[in-house]
Subunit: 362 residues, 2 copies
């Protein structure tokens, strides 16, 4: 990447406000974002982990050509295509932090690629676990809309690519757990009230019982961080895409309504305690001179609850969500374009968050 | 008390900024205030704990007459005289919190009185443990100045009162530990850096070894609260007033220079950590919706360190010291003129502190 495209790409990396985290969309005061991901592979080509470097490059070339033909019109907005080997390790890590590529995709970059819509709402990882992993992100509980766009892009790509498909099974994938629809849909929800009321495990156990999986804000092992949970389907086979999406939407709606019910009780019976928590978070985030990523995410959760309740004049959910991006270790280094120690990052992170809040007048 | 005097007295009670806590005076960035107290008793009158109610009233009357003659000129400013039985229990407690009378003086009010200079810098408790307990308060390390004023008022009072005095012992007092000079001098110092550096006990042990006593911000049992320590003389007999004052001043100066030495090291080697602590305190105090007295005093200490370092534009040591007064349980009830539960006090206290800081533009 050179010239204007490179500048655009750098701007995307440095951008802390992604449209898919702007608090809009259905049930946006609880549902942070919806994600639909499709796994696809090329017919008669070994899966990526069995591919030679040369063959991987051929897959990359073929996908890029097709994507180029699908173009801005097909993707619903301008896109950038790049080989991961053209991206610095730091930039790769920022893409991971921004949920645009998987951590695995960033590990070894040979023969790997990325297609990215400027607004970060559509991305295709090329030669990750499958030849193509297309994801569409939307703010709020908008699985249907995400699915419609993903499906449309998928159809257009299929015009230029022969997908590995079995009449009985459906789409074939590197890992059998993705075979069939190749669809993984997930919704990120913010559940601070259920957490305060100690009802999280009850609700999540119920979610697991209906065959859905719960992960944390940054995947497995981060459960509960910032009171954010990703709920997704486990089964990709034996159900239609429509069924998967509908089932997940239904369950998420139930979780959201439980959260809202507890929030209303909290607000009614413990308003001062909630306000105290929210404004203490605001006071710390807008004054601290050093802050760890963990503390920032914890305070982010309290502040977001305040924005969800419209407690802080002038501060939108979108403004608050930016703090999540500003808090990430690699993002901080990206902004200052330098390698920083953990201690230095804590200082710069505090600076970024303080300036951000100050720019919003709070 | 009625009319204008009553209004003035109420204003004094509600005033959160006392001149003797305005951060001025010698070494005012460490030494909060200096206090000189003289214990005096009337000749041929039993000590207060042996006095009948009628005799106590006679003492009160006699002292008030004399004080009236000493007047504004003698006291260096306008004064108010009142019997404690004319003061509500809440107002008495506010006087205690403002260090203007002792907790014991507020317990039973019969036959007890108070003389108070409007600016709170001079007070006489009548019929506390002794017939007269005269105190002079000054901001900073100003023991000499406090002594000169106390001694001057004492001399003028002596013109109208026969003090119990023994040529061998000196002034006679209810408790023998006060006999001789009847003088207790004390300095309140703020030692946050020594506390952080874990050097408090070393320094205070040294202070004890030279015959001085260390108490907390609100007397015995509050040691270390807000990193404030009161250092005072124990011996009142066998030394002249000048010696007592000079000795105490000398030791306090040493303590202050130790504190300043550690502050400089802190500032040089851990500036960000200090700033972080100061600004987090500011963030919490200016945003919390409920706060206990204990937490407020803890944060006050951090904020005061910031003011001592001139870290917060527009916020003076005097502004910060007001938070100490605003934090006290009875003061909070006084401002709202109502009895409050602990929970209600925490909310009103947070309101008072927030409005105070906001009025200072921080």
């Amino acid at each position: 990447m050179k010239g204007k495209k490179a500048d655009i790409f750098q701007n995307i990396l440095r951008n802390s406000s992604s449209p898919w985290m702007d608090g809009s969309g259905n049930l946006g005061n609880v549902a942070i974002s919806s994600r639909v991901r499709l796994a696809r592979n090329l017919e008669d080509v070994p899966f990526p982990h069995l591919l030679s470097g040369k063959d991987a490059d051929l897959v990359l070339k073929k996908v890029f050509q097709t994507v180029g033909r699908v173009g801005e019109r097909g993707f619903g907005g301008p896109i950038i295509q790049t080989s991961l080997s053209d991206i610095s390790p730091l930039d790769c890590q920022v893409l991971v932090e921004k949920h645009l590529i998987s951590p695995q995709h960033a590990v070894s970059k040979t023969g790997k690629g990325l297609v990215l819509r400027y607004d970060e709402s559509v991305a295709i990882m090329v030669n990750e676990e499958d030849h193509l992993r297309l994801q569409v992100l939307r703010s709020g509980l908008e699985l249907d809309e995400a699915w419609v766009l993903a499906s449309g892009i998928d159809d257009l790509c299929e015009q230029g690519l022969d997908y590995a498909y079995d009449e009985q099974i459906g789409y074939l994938t590197s890992c059998p757990t993705n075979a069939g629809t190749g669809l993984r849909a997930s919704v990120m929800v913010h559940l601070p009230a259920l957490a305060v009321a100690n009802e999280i495990s009850r609700v999540l156990t119920a979610v697991n019982k209906v065959g859905l999986v719960v992960r944390g804000l940054y995947g497995e092992g981060t459960e509960g961080q910032g009171n954010v949970f990703q709920i997704s389907n486990q089964i990709t086979l034996g159900q239609t895409e429509k069924e998967i999406i509908e089932n997940l939407s239904l369950v998420v709606k139930q979780v959201v309504s439980e959260e809202i019910r507890v929030r209303e009780t909290l607000f009614k019976n413990h308003r001062i305690e909630v306000e105290d928590r929210v404004f203490r978070a605001l006071g710390l985030l807008s004054n601290a001179r050093k802050i760890t990523s963990d503390e920032a995410i914890k305070l982010w959760s309290d502040l977001r609850l305040g924005a969800e309740f419209h407690m802080i004049p002038g501060l939108t959910i979108s403004d608050v969500n930016e703090i999540l991006v500003l808090s990430r270790p690699n993002y901080v280094q990206k902004v200052f374009e330098t390698t920083l120690t953990a201690q230095e990052r804590d200082i710069r992170r505090a600076d970024l968050i303080r300036k951000h809040l100050s720019s919003k007048g709070v």
